[in-house]
Each structure stands twice: as structure tokens, then as C-alpha cells.
Symmetry: C2
Subunit: 351 residues, 2 copies
DNA sequence: AGAAGTTGAGCAAACGTTTAACCAAAAGGA
DNA sequence: TCCTTTTGGTTAAACGTTTGCTCAACTTCT
């Protein structure tokens, strides 16, 4: 089947205040005032009715560009995400939208791929005033982006990530999340607990590693660096390879805490390849929840993070800046807790 | 840790053409012309240099609202998706962005939740001229949306879905996809092939069912309505329940074709609960690929659809309409083919 | 009745950009 | 020398809104 678009099927020309004013036999400003809905405007009942009727019959809608030009505001936020496919992203998106909407702002999502970065699209659009502020929801972050943003002195917020050049960020308490995971494993009797760490150049990975060590410490378990494997971010393949390395060590672990969702999935693959039964032979805890965690085999026990809340706060902060309102906001969110599914069980070493 | 936003940290005021003109001691229009990059403009080398220098040192960026107001165009497209978490969405998004960018347009994604529908946000934003055209990437579609859009006479394109009230849609050949899946199963020796069908009020589900029947016919296999189960869309739970019903029939199937990705995942869960080994005891084919298909156990054999291409075309069509260019575009894309993984195998009934 | 206040609406300017129309000065042609 | 053309700009208008100011026509008060 083929779609033919004929030439010259002109699109309708939107009606303007002028059209409404002409139709109602009044001046433009009074139309603007009446349609603004402001109860302060003094206008006769008759005029008001005529204007309302004309606006409706012409299906008038105020032009956003003209409004923004006048107001020097678009009341629009942009949310840049590097990877739309990442399972943690959707909840952040919904959070940002919720936060924006409740303050009368719109939020749009844009995919920050390599090309967008090299063209500095995020910056240009901000500078052109296409939107008032920017939220960067990203784990894979090129530092140059943040520096450009700081230099531009335009409002932006980092989500789920910190950067030395700015204090405009909102994150979850990754260390606390790691501690919850490790505590759970320790309580199940595990002692040799491995950690699949994300690239340590990222602050999130570092904090998770920190939490891992802290909690081991708290339980009097010695830290064994051979039980920590760094793996490449965001791809399950990386987690798989790293998990294999862990299993091939001389004293393999009985449980593992994976630094993120895709890593956990990769690790699961490796464990199965080694013929290990989860959770009977080996326990696995992931970080960040996702609907997918329920359907994989076995369903994954994870530490859930308040991603929605984080998105909402990011929008709130940004809007406070835009409206030049002072505000004091907790910048680090505590984990929501453990979601127990079927990938963890008491350590065999107990029996 | 707490973030304090101090009051009165004024944001920088963007510079305008006027500022540049003053700084370079020229009039505004010549600045506009020089910065437009149009080689036709006749200007002395000296003036050009002064303007360029001033623009750079003031870090001038043209104001998007003013431009759009003048041009009556925003060169922006909006892509509304009902469910950001749906695994097929990311590729469509990337396709739309690619198509938009190559034509000089920007594309933004917005999440079309219930509230957005009830507030008709998609319509309002279009009517306000926040963007020039609209792409609806949705399977869960409320008809009223399309009707509103048609009535508004503003440009929009439906992606992955058809609707009687418009011919502005671009889809994949679902029937052909179903045929590929069934043919694969038949070639593996399966005869009792079930179908998990999406809600039959959706055209996509209907076409997949159609393809299923056609291909059975082509192989001389009688259609057995007890082998078809309708299940609720987009949730793996639905697929699970439906699959269980199929397995509890008197003459259970040896293979199943699931109408979409989440359905296939749900079916997998049900099959495992019944103690069936995949693919030894039972074969499963899904529709639509996703990175997740590789990591679940077993990796899912699916029929892959050209989702990226579909997104790209949607953007192309929309832009052709906007620029009042006639065009002839294939409206139905053929499947990319079967992605063979580990969820299908020769029928046991053969041995 | 005259002054003062209120009501209802119009006029004009501004937001930043683009573009058509215009014009002085320099250059070229007879 | 005078007329025409080219060069290198300028002036003015327009896109659709919003908002401060103005102002005529009533109303109310003294």
C-alpha cells in the first residue's frame, strides 16, 4: 500500500487575537484580557460573551511562540536521556513530567546520542530559548557537556549523577543501596560476596563500591579485592564476562551484588552457563528495579530506588531556579528498599 | 545533603541582534543577514568581520520564539508515546529523530499518559503551535484522539497503527510477520500451533491473526479456534494467563506464536510453570525484537520488524506535508525477518 | 451643577526576528 | 559631464501577544 500526499492541500491558518477581535467587534487587547481568565479585568457581560463566542467559533488558540517571545519564557523543560532503552529511564521520565506539570510547565524528552553531543544540541537549544531549563538524566556522561552547561550559565540539573563542576544535581544514595543489598546477603549466611562494579570513573559506581565495603566491614567480613570486578557499563555482555572471571577465581563467591540492572542480567547468564542454580547454588542481587526484573528467570531480587521521586525533584529544583525562588531541597534520596524475588536464598555453606 | 538555592542569582540575559548590531556599529538587518550564512548577501569584508566578532564575543544565539513567530514554523515535531517502557518504543524514537534531523527538524518525545489524553495535551500543544506536526507511536490508542486530530486539520501521522478516520499512518506488515513465524514453526514439524492474540479491537492484532490463519492454510493445516487465545495487551501477566489456558486444553499445542514481546515473555513463564522445557518440549516465537530478547532464558526467537525505518518514514511523511511537497511513500513496511535464537526447535512429535 | 471617581474599552509600544523596499555613494559607460 | 548600474548598507513593517497608559462616558458625591 502506498500513501500519496497530494500537493496544495493547504493546512488551515490558525486564527489570531486579531481575528477574534474583528469577529467580536472589539479591540485586540480586550480580547487578550478576557481570554486570560484573569478575574480582575473589568468588562461588560455583553462584550465578554461576544468575545468568548467568537473565540470558540474560530477555535482560537494563543500562539505559543508569540507568547514566549513576549514573556521571555517558554514554560518548557527538556529532559535529555542518553539511552531511551535503559530500563531505569522510563520512571525518571514520568517523575520529571509529573514535577513539571504540577508547576504548569511542559517537559519534553530528547535522546542524547553521540551526534547530539558532538553538535552540542543540548546547549544550542537551551541558548536559543527553545526551553527554559535542562535536565540531564544520564549515567554515561561526558564531562565536557557539564562544563559547557556551567559556562553557559543557563539553568540545568543533573539527575542520578554528580559532577565536580556543579552542585546542581540530585541523586539516590547509592552507598545505602549497596549496603541494603550486602546486608541482605549477609543475613542469608553469605560470606564470600562478590561485587560487579560499574566503571569506577563514575561517581555512582564508586559510591556503590563504597557501600559494599562499608557493609562488609560492619559485619566483620574482610574485604577481598579479587571479589570485585569492574565491568563495562550498560551492556549485559560486560556483566556476563565479569561474572565469568569471578567464577573462575580460586575461591569463588557464593553471592554477588551487581551494580546495575543490565549487569545483573548479564551475570545471570554467566551463572547459568556455569551450571549454577539460582538461588540454590548462588545468590544474586541487582540495583534498580524494572518490570523486566519480574519476568526474567529467576525473578530478580533488587534494591529499589526512588527514581520517580528523583525525576520529580529535578523538575522542582529547576523550576525554582527559573522562578528565582529560594529553596532548600534534599539532594540525596534514600533507597526504597529491597524487593525480594527469587534470586537470593540462604547460603549452601550453612547446611 | 541538602541543596540550597539562593535568591536573586539572576540568570544571564541572552544577547539579541540589537546588542550585536550596537556592538558592531551596524544596523540590525545586516547582522541578521550576515549571520544567516546566506552567501548571496553582499557585505564588505570589514563589516562581516566586525559582526562575526561581536556575535561571538556576546555569544549570540538567535531566539527561537522570535524566529518561529516570524516564520510561522517551529521546525519541531512531537512524538507522543503511550508507554515509554515498552521495549519497541526506543527504536521508533530513534527512527523518528533520525528522520527529523536529516530534514533539519527537531523531534521531542512526550509521554502520553491518561492525564495527557484527558487534557487533550497533544491537541492543545499542536494548536498553540508549539510544534508543527505530531507523530503518534501507539498501540493502545483511544479513537477519540485520532478523531480530534482529524477535526483539527493539523498534520499528524500514526505509527504502527491504522485508524479508519485517516490514511495518515505507517505500519509494518503484521500479517507477513505472522506468516514468517508460522512458516518457521511448520518447517520445524509443528502442526498444533497456537496463537496468543492481542485484543482483537486493534487492527494490528487482527492482521497478525489473519497472517496466522493464512499461513496455516498455505500448509494445509486446519484452523482450530481453540488454539487461539486473546490476551490483554502490553502486560506479560496477560500472556501468562492465556498461555495457561492453552496448555490446559484437551489437545494442547506444541508451539505458540505470541502476538507481541511482552506476551511472549508471559507465555514463557507459564510454560516453565508447567514444567515444559523450551525449546525441547515446546517452541515459542515472538513478534518484535528487543535487547531483552537476548538475555531472557531461553533467548527468544522473534520476527523482527523495521521499527527504526518506520519511525524515520513517519517523520519524512510529516515533513513532506508540512513543506507542502507531494510525495509517494510505501505505507506498509515488510518484516526484516526471523531472528533465530533458542526458543524454537524441531517438534518432538517427529521423533 | 460641578468636581471627583469608576467603568469599559482603545491606543501604542514592546518582545527579537526576517524581509521587502529604499537610498546614498561609488563605479562604470556614453 | 550626465545617466545608469552596482555596492553596501538603512529604514520600515510584520509575525501574535501582553501590558501600561489614555480616555470617553457614566456614576456618585458635595
Amino acid at each position: 500500500m502506498v500513501l500519496e500526499i497530494p500537493m496544495g492541500k493547504r493546512l488551515p491558518i490558525p486564527s489570531t487575537l486579531k481575528d477574534v477581535a474583528n469577529s467580536a467587534n472589539v479591540s485586540i487587547p480586550i480580547v487578550s484580557r478576557v481570554l486570560s481568565g484573569n478575574p480582575e479585568v473589568r468588562v461588560s457581560a455583553d462584550t465578554r460573551q461576544r468575545i468568548l463566542k467568537a473565540a470558540k467559533s474560530l477555535s482560537y488558540h494563543p500562539n505559543a511562540s508569540a507568547r514566549s517571545l513576549k514573556a521571555k519564557r517558554t514554560y518548557t523543560l527538556a529532559l535529555f536521556v542518553p539511552d531511551v532503552g535503559n530500563p531505569v529511564i522510563p520512571e525518571i521520565i514520568r517523575g520529571v513530567e509529573a514535577g513539571a506539570q504540577s508547576a504548569g510547565y511542559a517537559a519534553f524528552v530528547s535522546h542524547l546520542d553521540e551526534k547530539a553531543v558532538s553538535e552540542q544540541r543540548y546547549l544550542t537549544w537551551l541558548q536559543e530559548g527553545r526551553f527554559d531549563g535542562l535536565i540531564l538524566a544520564t549515567a554515561r556522561l561526558e564531562d565536557s557537556i557539564v562544563e559547557d552547561l556551567v559556562r553557559s550559565r543557563r539553568p540545568f540539573v543533573l539527575v542520578n549523577r554528580r559532577e565536580s563542576s556543579t552542585n546542581m544535581h540530585i541523586t539516590v544514595d547509592d552507598a545505602a543501596g549497596a549496603r541494603i543489598a550486602i546486608n541482605h546477603l549477609v543475613e542469608l549466611g553469605h560470606r564470600r560476596i562478590a561485587h560487579l562494579a560499574g566503571p569506577l570513573m563514575f561517581d555512582t559506581s564508586l559510591r556503590r563500591l563504597q557501600g559494599y565495603r562499608q557493609e562488609l566491614d560492619a559485619h566483620g567480613i574482610a574485604y577481598d579485592s579479587s571479589l570485585v570486578q569492574e565491568y563495562s557499563w550498560q551492556t549485559w555482555e560486560g556483566g556476563k564476562v565479569a561474572m565469568k572471571r569471578l567464577l573462575q577465581g580460586k575461591k569463588p563467591p557464593t553471592a554477588v551484588f551487581a551494580s546495575n540492572f543490565m549487569g545483573a542480567v548479564g551475570a545471570l547468564g554467566a551463572l547459568k552457563e556455569f551450571g549454577l542454580k539460582i538461588p540454590e547454588d548462588f545468590s544474586l542481587v541487582g540495583l534498580h528495579d524494572s518490570p523486566i526484573a519480574e519476568v526474567i528467570d529467576p525473578p530478580l531480587t533488587v534494591v529499589k530506588m526512588p527514581l520517580h521521586e528523583m525525576g520529580r525533584r529535578a523538575a522542582e529544583i529547576l523550576i525554582n531556579i527559573l522562578e528565582d525562588r529560594p529553596c532548600v531541597i534534599p539532594q540525596v534520596l534514600t533507597p526504597e528498599g529491597l524487593v525480594m524475588r527469587k534470586s537470593t536464598a540462604p547460603c549452601r555453606c550453612l547446611s
